[in-house]
C-alpha cells in the first residue's frame, strides 16, 4: 500500500479506501478463514478489520510498513472472535478423537487443514502468517507484538506440534 493512497484515506477519500479494500480483501479473508475455519466468522472479522483500519488510520505511522499494521488489526479481530465463541465451538477444546471422526481427510490440503484445526490458536496464527501470507519474522513480531526471538520460538513450537498432529492422525496417508 503506497503512502499516497494512505494519505488520501486519511483525508476520507472513498476511492482510495476502495483501492485498499481491493488489495487486501482476498488475503484478509484467506487468513481469517484459515485461522477461524468458518466463513461467516471470517467475514465478520474482515469487515470489522476494515472498519477499524479506516477509523484508526490517523494513528498509523507512515514511516512504518502498512501490511504488518493491517494484519495486526486482523489478528486481534480474529482473537476477539475466538474469545467470543462458546468453548465447545473452539477447535482447541475439541478432543482429537472427535475431530478425526468428522470426515477422513482426502487430500494433502485437507490433511494439513485437519491438523491445523487441532493446533493452539497462537500456533495456528503463526503458521498462517508465515507460510500462507508470507510475512517475514520481523513483520510477524509487529503483528503479534512479540520479539523476533519469540516469533522464532513460536514458529518452532508450531511446526513441532503440527508435525506431531500429522504423525498421529494421518494413519499412513502422509509420512512426515
Amino acid at each position: 500500500m503506497d503512502k499516497k493512497t494512505i494519505k488520501r484515506i486519511k483525508k476520507g477519500d472513498k476511492k482510495a479506501f476502495r483501492t485498499l479494500y481491493d488489495e487486501y480483501y482476498q488475503s484478509a479473508m484467506r487468513t481469517a478463514v484459515s485461522m477461524l475455519k468458518n466463513d461467516s466468522d471470517a467475514s465478520d472479522a474482515v469487515q470489522e478489520t476494515f472498519i477499524r483500519v479506516y477509523k484508526g488510520i490517523h494513528s498509523f505511522d507512515e514511516s512504518k510498513l502498512f501490511k504488518p499494521w493491517f494484519y495486526r488489526i486482523l489478528t486481534n479481530e480474529v482473537r476477539r472472535l475466538i474469545k467470543k465463541r462458546k468453548p465447545e465451538q473452539d477447535y482447541d477444546q475439541v478432543p482429537h478423537s472427535e475431530i478425526a471422526q468428522v470426515q477422513p481427510p482426502e487430500t494433502d490440503h485437507a490433511t494439513l487443514d485437519e491438523a491445523m484445526m487441532r493446533l493452539k490458536e497462537n500456533h495456528r496464527e503463526a503458521i498462517v502468517l508465515k507460510y500462507l501470507e508470507g510475512l517475514s519474522e520481523k513483520e510477524m513480531s509487529t503483528v503479534l507484538d512479540i520479539s523476533i526471538s519469540a516469533v522464532k520460538s513460536r514458529l518452532f513450537q508450531a511446526r513441532k506440534m503440527l508435525k506431531e498432529e500429522l504423525r498421529g492422525d494421518i494413519h499412513g496417508q502422509q509420512q512426515v
Binding site: F17, Y25, Q26, S43, G56, H58, N76, E77, L112, D145
Partner: protein, 240 residues
C-alpha cells in the same frame, strides 16, 4: 522429513487451494462498509468563474476582518494572558526532584496548549498529529522516544479506546497520573531496550478525543517516561 522439506510442504500445501473470492459477498461487505463509514464527499469540479468569485469574496472578507477584528490574534492574546510563557516544572527523578523550565507551545489553533521542556525536547507539527521528540536525535541503538498528540475530532473517547484496543490488543483502565485519563501500555520484551508504548486518551470536551501515544524503552521508563508524563501534566485544552 527434515525441517526445510517440512516448511516447503506446509507452504506448498497451504497455498495449494487458492482462496476464491465470492464477488457477491465482497460487494455486500463493501456496501456495509460504505453505510458504516463516513467518507469525504466527492468534490465536484466548479466552473472557472465560481473559483474567481470565491477568491474575490475571500479577499474581501479577509480585508474587512483585518480592519475591524483579528480573531486569531485575539485568541493568541488570550492564551498569552492565561498561560505564562514559561513555567518551572519539578521532575521526580530517582528519589529526588529536578527543576526544569518548560516553555509554552501555543497550539490553540488545534485546540490546546502544552508546556514543553525545551532543554531536552521539541514539538514538531505534522499533518495529522503533533510530536514531542528529543531535541537531539538519539543514537541509533536506542528505540524511539516521543509523545504523539493526536486529535480525533469526530471520535469519542469510547470509540478511540475501542479502536486502540483492537489495534494493539490492549485493555484500557482509568488513571489519575499524570492526568485523569484512560490508559494502557505494551512492553515488547524484557531487555533494557525493549520498546514501551503508553497510551492516554482524554475527551476534547467537544465530542472528540485526544490520544497521547508515548514511546520509550524499558530502561528509560524512569527518565524519558517520567519527563514525557510531566509535560503531559501541562497540557491544556483551550477554546478555538
Amino acid at each position: 522429513m527434515d525441517n526445510n522439506k517440512f516448511e516447503r510442504y506446509i507452504e506448498k500445501t497451504l497455498k495449494e487451494e487458492e482462496y476464491k473470492v465470492d464477488e457477491l459477498q465482497k460487494e455486500k461487505m463493501w456496501q456495509e462498509l460504505e453505510g458504516q463509514l463516513s467518507f469525504e464527499k466527492e468534490k465536484k469540479k466548479k466552473p472557472h468563474w465560481i473559483g474567481l468569485v470565491s477568491t474575490a469574496a475571500a479577499i474581501l472578507i479577509l480585508a474587512s476582518g483585518l480592519l475591524f477584528t483579528t480573531p486569531g490574534h485575539a485568541l493568541v492574546d488570550t492564551v498569552k494572558k492565561w498561560f505564562e510563557p514559561e513555567k518551572q516544572m519539578k521532575i521526580p527523578m530517582e528519589g529526588s526532584e529536578e527543576q526544569e523550565t518548560a516553555t509554552l507551545n501555543d497550539q490553540s489553533e488545534k485546540g490546546y496548549v502544552i508546556y514543553v521542556d525545551e532543554e531536552h525536547y521539541k514539538l514538531e507539527e505534522h499533518e495529522e498529529y503533533d510530536l514531542i521528540t528529543t531535541k537531539e536525535p538519539l543514537p541509533e541503538q536506542y528505540p524511539e522516544v516521543s509523545m504523539r498528540i493526536i486529535h480525533e475530532k469526530d471520535q469519542s473517547v469510547e470509540e478511540t479506546i475501542r479502536n486502540l484496543e483492537a489495534e494493539y490488543d490492549l485493555t484500557f483502565e482509568s488513571t489519575d497520573y499524570p492526568i485523569d485519563a484512560q490508559t494502557a501500555r505494551t512492553i515488547e520484551g524484557h531487555e533494557w531496550n525493549s520498546p514501551v508504548n503508553r497510551f492516554y486518551v482524554i475527551s476534547d470536551e467537544n465530542g472528540g478525543s485526544y490520544i497521547f501515544h508515548q514511546k520509550y524503552f524499558l530502561e528509560a521508563s524512569e527518565g524519558h517516561g517520567v519527563r514525557l508524563s510531566e509535560m503531559l501534566k501541562e497540557f491544556y485544552i483551550v477554546e478555538k
